[in-house]
């Protein structure tokens, strides 16, 4: 566990978006290591549909920033093959929702080769993909799905909530000898063409640095209620925490940052302190992250909870198109605030 260093605007200047922070981390690693390369659909001249490869093509050219056919099984598998040979591919799956066309490569190969080989073969690969809803992209382009991947052994799963972590976690992911699934939320990328929380643009140091994979951050300390969450919902939760401070409710926000490995210790100490637990998840509710957090509490000491816990997640429905319905099922600030108030009451 580390307490997030609030990005210091040391010289008061450089504030960049999450997307830019990701791309910058990739660029730094590419400069440092010729074995790092990028591939995916529209990662070249276009710069990644959600900006994750902005400017890389201009610097590194078509040889290291490779546009692919719409053949996710082939090119993710090719990433695995290259990684098996010791290269460090950074492969983009445009939306995580498309995992179904290439899931075998991801979970039966990328995730298992190291284990099946008894440790003889490493797969040092980053698979990055866009997650999340909120802009009416409907059922096939709005899912979070981190719970799906966290359930399956052999892949580290990270999901940053802000530019600083995005850069540091990307550096860690590329340097990691294991496959890392890096899930970035479209709504937290700071894109010019999408509504965003100001937290998606922040100070990020220019030089390379890492944020360790597997350490949650106490994004905000508090004493009444613990919110355990990740990705864009951290931004919402921080907003709510600020708002509820005015009502005299002190909210602690835990940003898990990675689901695998999961920093159970940080979660448990927060719950031990507050006795009140709200888990906020933009993924589907059942059989996912909210359940896992419940379990680590219930198998450690259910009496930690002075009240029944609460789960706020997508209520096991596909993501609907129309805005009213979509916001009806997303964990919005209002719903987070309401749940916290109930717990605190």
């Amino acid at each position: 566990m580390t307490t997030t260093e609030t990005p210091q605007t040391a010289d008061g200047t450089r504030r960049i978006t999450t997307a830019k922070a990701m791309a910058e981390a990739i660029a730094l690693e590419m400069r440092a290591n010729p074995e790092v390369f990028v591939m995916g659909e529209d990662v070249g001249a276009y710069g990644g549909i959600f900006g994750s490869t902005t400017d890389l093509f201009a610097e590194f050219g078509a040889d290291r920033v490779i546009d692919t056919p719409i053949s996710e099984t082939a090119f993710i598998g090719a990433g695995i093959g290259a990684a098996v040979e010791g290269m460090r591919p950074v492969v983009e799956l445009m939306f995580i929702d498309f995992y179904g066309v290439c899931m075998d490569q991801i979970t039966n190969h990328m995730a298992k080769i190291h284990y099946e080989s008894g440790g003889a073969v490493n797969v040092p690969m980053v698979l990055m993909s866009a997650t999340g809803a909120g802009y009416s992209d409907a059922a096939q382009h709005s899912q979070s799905l981190w719970g799906t991947f966290a359930h399956l052994p052999g892949i580290k799963v990270v999901a940053p909530s802000n530019p600083y972590d995005a850069k540091g976690l990307m550096a860690s992911a590329i340097r990691d000898d294991n496959p890392v699934l890096y899930l970035f939320h479209k709504g937290a990328q700071g894109l010019v063409w999408m509504a965003k929380n100001p937290r998606s643009i922040a100070h990020v140091p220019e030089e390379a640095y890492t944020v360790p994979i597997g350490e949650a951050a106490v994004a905000r300390e508090g004493s009444d209620v613990s919110i355990v969450t990740l990705s864009l919902s951290v931004q919402h939760s921080l907003d709510v925490a600020e708002e509820l401070e005015g009502e005299g409710i002190s909210v602690e926000v835990i940003d898990l940052r990675s689901l695998v490995p999961l920093d159970t210790e940080t979660v448990l100490s927060s719950v031990a302190k507050t006795g009140k637990l709200l888990v906020v998840d933009e993924d589907y509710k059942s059989y996912g992250m909210t359940g896992e957090i419940a379990a680590i509490v219930a198998e450690t000491d259910p009496t930690m909870l002075s009240k029944p816990m609460k789960r706020l997640a997508v209520p096991d429905v596909p993501i609907p198109y129309a805005r009213t319905m979509e916001y009806g099922i997303l964990p919005t600030r209002d719903k987070i605030a309401a749940a916290v108030r109930e717990l605190a009451s």
């Binding site: 719409i70 992209d137 409907a138 096939q140 509504a195 209520p315 129309a322 805005r323 319905m325």
Partner: protein
């Protein structure tokens, strides 16, 4: 066919306008009366009208993320479709699907936002038609980018082994978002891939409605007669961006040639030259299209917005 092409283009033009209308000044994809991604079909009308001219009530189409032209040409109700795009309860899907997920069981029309995944579903519809002894056919439409997806291969093989009444239509508009065909596809004509499944494959050049009509007719007739599947690649043009908001820097100089490649004025000129169309008719068709599209938009605007709780319905039947 000309009338239908104009109808489609007017539709897309109006959606374009309405889509952007309330996304200013700061363009936000999630804002406005029509939020979300928007893939319009301007330039690709010939494929839709040429194919759908041969289809009957009861024939099926699976379309991809760029579905409006095929939906309209296949008889999907414009009002219900527009209301869906506006996310209203009177929409085809009561506002749940949106522009990439239009379902019209009456016309056996559906589309999907996942590249290549309409192919297998069309095979299954064809299987049902065949098992029930009807002579209906299923048409699976997708772009040239989709032809490199595994589902394409599996479906062509399956349809051929089972002799299913399917016609696979590839709309080759040279681009898959920013990736040109030359960077994605190992050969120059997907029609050549048909031979690997022992089925006929035809590529139609020049976005010509009449040539498309003829080639599609042969393929659909073949399927209807129980002679099995075919592959039809249509070389067409994407006049606008991949989706709205796409600045298309990657297209470079090609952008300037697009006006010349618009199939609608070209087709009109040809028909007028042949004496099959008059200037008056052109104006009249335009006016009718305008009126129909406007009525559809008004219908959508006048329809109720779903409630938040409606989201909880329809997970299970």
């Amino acid at each position: 066919m000309y009338r239908e092409m104009v109808r489609i283009r007017h539709y897309e033009g109006r959606i374009l306008q309405e889509y952007h209308a309330d996304k200013t000044p700061a363009w936000d994809i999630g804002a406005g009366l029509i939020p979300g991604e928007m893939h319009l079909s301007a330039g690709q009308e010939p494929a839709a009208v040429g194919v759908c001219a041969h289809l009957r009530k009861g024939d099926a189409i699976t379309a991809p993320h760029r579905p409006h032209h095929f939906a309209l040409a296949h008889g999907v109700d414009m009002k219900a479709m527009t209301a869906e795009i506006y996310g209203r309860t009177s929409g085809l899907c009561q506002g749940k699907g949106g522009h990439m997920h239009l379902f019209d069981p009456e016309n056996h029309f559906s589309c999907s936002g996942i590249i290549g995944q309409g192919y297998p579903v069309a095979c299954g519809q064809a299987m049902a038609f065949k098992r029930r002894g009807t002579d209906h056919v299923a048409v699976a439409v997708a772009g040239e980018g989709a032809a490199n997806q595994g589902a394409f291969h599996e479906s062509l093989n399956l349809a051929a082994v089972w002799n299913l009444p399917v016609v696979f239509v590839i709309e080759d508009n040279d681009w898959a978002i920013s990736v040109p065909r030359s960077h994605s596809t190992a050969n120059t004509s997907n029609a050549d891939r048909a031979a690997g499944y022992g089925m006929p494959g035809v590529r139609v050049e020049n976005n010509d409605p009449d040539a498309i009509h003829e080639a599609a007719g042969a393929a659909i007739e073949r399927a209807r007669a129980g002679e099995g599947p075919s592959l039809l690649e249509i070389h067409t043009v994407r006049l606008w961006g991949h989706f709205e908001g796409d600045a298309q820097a990657y297209r470079g100089a090609e952008l300037e040639t697009l006006d010349e490649r618009d199939p609608i004025p070209a087709y009109a000129a040809r028909l007028i030259e042949a004496g099959d169309l008059t200037d008056d008719q052109v104006e009249q068709i335009k006016a009718e299209a305008d009126a129909e599209v406007d009525a559809a938009v008004q219908f959508a605007l006048g329809s109720p917005i779903p409630t938040a709780d409606d989201a909880l319905l329809h997970v299970f039947a």
